[in-house]
Amino acid sequence: MKQFARLIDVLNITTKTNEKLAALQDYFKTANDKDKVWVIALFTGRRPKRTISATLLKQWCAEFCQIPSWLLDECYHTVGDLSETIALLIDAHYQPQQPTTEMPLHYYIEQFRRLEKATEEERKAFMLQGWTQLQTTTERFIFNKLLSGAFRIGVSQQLIVQALSKVTGKAPSVIAHRISGQWDPGNIGFEALTSDENNIADDSKPYPFYLAYPVENEVDKLGDINEWQVEWKWDGIRGQMIKRNNAFFVWSRGEDLMTEKFPEYALLQEQLPNGLVLDGEIIVAKGSTPLAFALMQTRIGRKNITRKVMQDAPVSFFAYDVLEYDGKDIRHEPLYERRKILEQIVAGVNQEILQLSPVVHCTDWVELATLREQSREHFAEGFMLKRKNSSYQTGRKRGDWWKWKIDALTIDAVMIYAQKGSGRRSNLYTDYTFAVKDGDALVPFAKAYSGLTDKEIAQVDNFVKRNAIEKFGPVRTVKPELVFELAFEGIAASKRHKSGVALRFPRINRWRHDKKVDEINTLDDLKQMLQLYGNK
C-alpha cells in the first residue's frame, strides 16, 4: 500500500506530464504483478463493484470520530471528496498505534470484493480495521477510494499506455489494444495482460479511437480541399462495431461495452463478415435520417430496451472507417483505401440500419463554409476533415484529422444558485445554476461548471460568499446579479425541467459585466430557440 500511496502522492500533486510518466514507469518496474494489474484497471476506469454505500461510510465515520453527521457533511462540502474528508477526519481523531503489517494494494481490493457477500456488521468491521491500521492520510484516502474506484488524478489512458510501453518494450499501439476491452483484473497476470501474442484471444477488443482536435487556423490553411475527405460531424455516440469468430460487440468511446443497449444491431451480426472492426457513430435515426439527440437520452440509461423504446428512438450506425478487415489490422492503410473497403461492406450488407457516413463534396473551402451553416438542419455539429491519405492513429492527434464545428448557440442568463466544487476546485463555489426571466420571475434552466478562468472563479466565489441568501444543504441561493453568456450545442423540449427545455453541453462563454439582470434573455427567447433549433 505504501508504494501505491507514494505513486498517488506524486500523481496528485505534479502537473508535469514527464514527472507523472516517470512515477508510473517506476511503479510498473518495481511493484508486484497483482498490484500492477489493479493499477492499470483502476486508472483505465475499470472500477471494482461498489460494496459499501456512501451513506453507510459517512454514518460509520461520524460515529467513529464522534461528530454529528451534519458536521461531517459540512466538511465534505468544503473538501469536495468524501474519501479525502473521511481520511482527514480519521487522521484528526485517531492516533495509530504501533505500525501494523504492510499489506499490498490487491489485498485490500480482494477484501472489498469479498464483502459483497458479507453482512453489514462485517463490512463495518472491515472499514474500521482499515481506518485504524493504515498509517497516513494518503493510505486512508486510497483505502476509501478503492470503494468507488474513481481516482481522478489526471492520468490519461495514453499516459498509462506510454509508461507500460516504456517498461515492457512493446509498441504503444499493442499496449493500448491489450488494455482496452474486457478483462478481469482479478483473473489476469501482468505478463498475460501486456503480452502481444494472440493465444489469449479476446475477440471483443476494440482499437483505441483516433480523435480530432478543433481546426486551429483558417481552414484554407489546410491546403487543397481535394486532399481532404469531408463528412458531417454527427451528434451521436462514437462507437466501434466488432465481429470476430461470429461474436459481435459494440463499444462506445468511453470504452463501455454497449452491445446489449442496441439489440437492433443483432441483425448485423449475421450479415457482417468475420474479422471486422468498424468505426462510426451510433445515431438515433430512421434509416439515413438522424433524429434529435435528446431521444438517445431516453434510452441510453435503461436496463431493458423494450420494443416500444426501439420504436420511439430507433438507431442506425453511421460507419465512417474500417480498422480491421478479414482479420487483419488495416489501420496503417490510407483512408481512401479503407473507405473503398468500407463502401463495399456497407453495400454488401444492404440494411437501413447500417449507413455509410456520406462524403460531402465541395470544390473549395468557401463553398464548404457556406454549407456548414446548414449543419443543424442535418443534425450535425459541423464537419470532420480527414486527410485522404491518413492512417488511423491512436488518441487525439493534430495534423490529419480535424473537427470544424459550428458556433454554439448562446443565451444571457443570471446566476441564482451556487455550490462548491471538488478536486482542485474544492472549497470554491464553482458549480452554478442559471435562470432566464419570465415576467418578474426567474426560471432556472441550466447548470454550468466550466468556462471561467481561475481568476474569474475567485471573483464569483467571493461574490457568492458575500451575497448568499439561503442555504439548502450544500447549495446557496445568491442575489441574482451576475450575468453570464452561456453557450450550448443544442436544445430540446423536456418535461423534467421547470423551464420546459433541456440544453446540450451548456457552459459559460463569458462573463457579461456589461449587462444587468433586467437585460438577460427571457423564457420566451428560449422557447423560440426551441422552435428554431429544437426537436420534439
Partner: protein, 342 residues
C-alpha cells in the same frame, strides 16, 4: 446590563469605554490586536497596541499617535479596564481583555494555541463572553506539530538540493516567513527573499528576530547564488515573472489550506505544508472551553459551523459577520489564498 462589545458597521465597539477594536473604518480610539492589514487599518486618531506591534504599525501605517502596553499590563479608558494577552498568532499579536463592573469580555483577534517560539504562548483568559475567530473551524483541520512540519520542510529542501533545485517557499511576509527562517536555520546560513519580505525582516532584525542571514533578491543576484538556494517569497510573487530567475526550482506553499490536496493542485505547487498561524479545530474548542465563557461570538471563518456545534455542546454561541479575513475571501486559494492568513 448592556453588552460590553457590540458589532457595528465600523467594527467591534465598546460603548462604555467609547473605543473600537480592530475597526475597519477610521475612528477616534482603536485597540489593534496585531499588525496584519485586515486588522490594523490606517486613519485612526489614536492607536493602542502591544509594544512589539508598534514598530510593525509604524512601518506599515507610518507615524501616528501610538500607545503601547505590555502583556498583562492594565489601563483604564473611561472606566473600562483594558489589558492585552498573548495570542500566539504573530509577533506582538494580542487578545484584548476588557472588564467593566465585574463583567469580562475577551476578543482573540487571530490566534493559535501552539507556541511557535516567536509569537509568544497563547494564554486562555477566563471571561464571561469570548469572541473567537474560526478561520479553520472544521474538524478536518488538525495540525501536525511544528516540529514535525519543520522536519518535513527540511527533508524537502535537502531532497531538492540533491536534485539540483532551489526550494521556493511561499509564505506571508509577516509571521509565516519568520517561522520558515526559524525552520531552516539548522540546514542553511542564508535565505534569499523577495523585497516585500526583506523590508519587513529589516525591521524584525532590529527587534532581535534574526535566525539566518537574509539576502534580498535583486537584479544583481546571480543565478549561481540562487542555485540550490532556499527562497522565501510572498503569495503575490507566485506565478509572476519574478520567479523565472529562480529556475530550476520546486515550489512549496505554506498555509493551513494546504491540508486539502485539491488546494495544493490548484496552486500548481510541488508540495503543500499545512503550516498555519491559526488554531485548528481542536485548538478552537479547547480554548473556548478553557475560558469558561457563558457566551461565545464566532467571527471570521466557519462562523455558522462552529457556532452551531457549540450550541449543540451546550455553549451559547452566535455567528458574527466581520470584515476580517477579507484577504482570504477575496483570493480564495487561487493566488493569494490563505497563505496570507492575515
Amino acid at each position: 446590563m448592556s453588552k460590553l462589545i457590540s458589532f457595528t458597521d465600523m467594527g467591534l465597539y465598546c460603548k462604555q469605554g467609547n473605543f473600537y477594536i480592530d475597526p475597519w473604518k477610521p475612528v477616534e480610539f482603536a485597540i489593534i490586536t496585531h499588525g496584519h492589514s485586515d486588522h490594523a487599518r490606517p486613519g485612526h486618531q489614536h492607536y493602542l497596541c502591544h509594544t512589539l506591534t508598534k514598530p510593525i504599525l509604524q512601518l506599515r501605517l507610518g507615524q501616528n499617535n501610538y500607545q503601547t502596553l505590555e502583556w498583562n499590563e492594565t489601563i483604564f479608558v473611561n472606566g473600562v479596564k483594558i489589558s492585552l494577552h498573548p495570542a500566539g498568532h504573530i509577533i506582538g499579536s494580542s487578545q484584548v481583555r476588557i472588564e467593566y463592573k465585574g463583567e469580562v469580555w475577551v476578543f482573540t483577534g487571530d490566534y493559535k494555541t501552539e507556541d511557535d517560539g516567536i509569537s509568544g504562548q497563547y494564554e486562555a483568559i477566563r471571561c464571561n463572553t469570548f469572541i473567537t475567530e474560526s478561520t479553520f473551524g472544521l474538524p478536518i483541520y488538525k495540525w501536525k506539530t511544528q516540529q514535525e512540519i519543520y522536519g518535513n520542510i527540511q527533508d524537502w529542501v535537502l531532497q531538492n538540493q540533491q536534485d539540483d533545485k532551489a526550494s521556493v517557499l511561499i509564505a506571508y511576509s509577516l509571521g509565516k516567513a519568520q517561522r520558515l527562517m526559524d525552520a531552516v536555520k539548522n540546514i542553511t546560513d542564508t535565505v534569499y527573499v523577495h523585497g516585500a519580505i526583506y523590508n519587513m525582516q529589516q525591521l524584525l532584525d532590529e527587534m532581535g528576530y534574526n535566525f539566518v542571514q537574509v539576502k534580498r533578491i535583486s537584479s544583481g543576484t546571480t543565478k549561481q547564488e540562487l542555485k540550490n538556494a532556499i527562497v522565501i517569497a510572498p503569495p503575490s510573487a507566485d506565478g509572476t515573472p519574478w520567479m523565472k530567475k529562480l529556475n530550476p526550482y520546486r515550489l512549496g506553499i505554506c498555509s493551513g489550506w494546504m491540508q486539502v490536496r485539491g488546494n495544493v493542485r490548484r496552486r500548481n505547487a510541488d508540495i503543500g505544508f499545512a503550516l498555519s498561524d491559526h488554531c485548528d479545530w481542536e485548538g478552537l474548542l479547547s480554548s473556548i472551553t478553557a475560558t469558561g465563557a457563558e457566551n461565545v461570538y464566532v467571527t471570521h471563518g466557519f462562523q455558522s459551523v462552529l457556532s452551531k456545534y457549540l450550541n449543540e455542546q451546550g455553549i451559547a454561541a452566535w455567528e458574527v459577520k466581520t470584515q476580517y479575513g477579507a484577504e482570504d475571501d477575496e483570493q480564495p486559494v487561487t493566488d493569494h489564498a490563505n497563505s496570507t492568513e492575515p
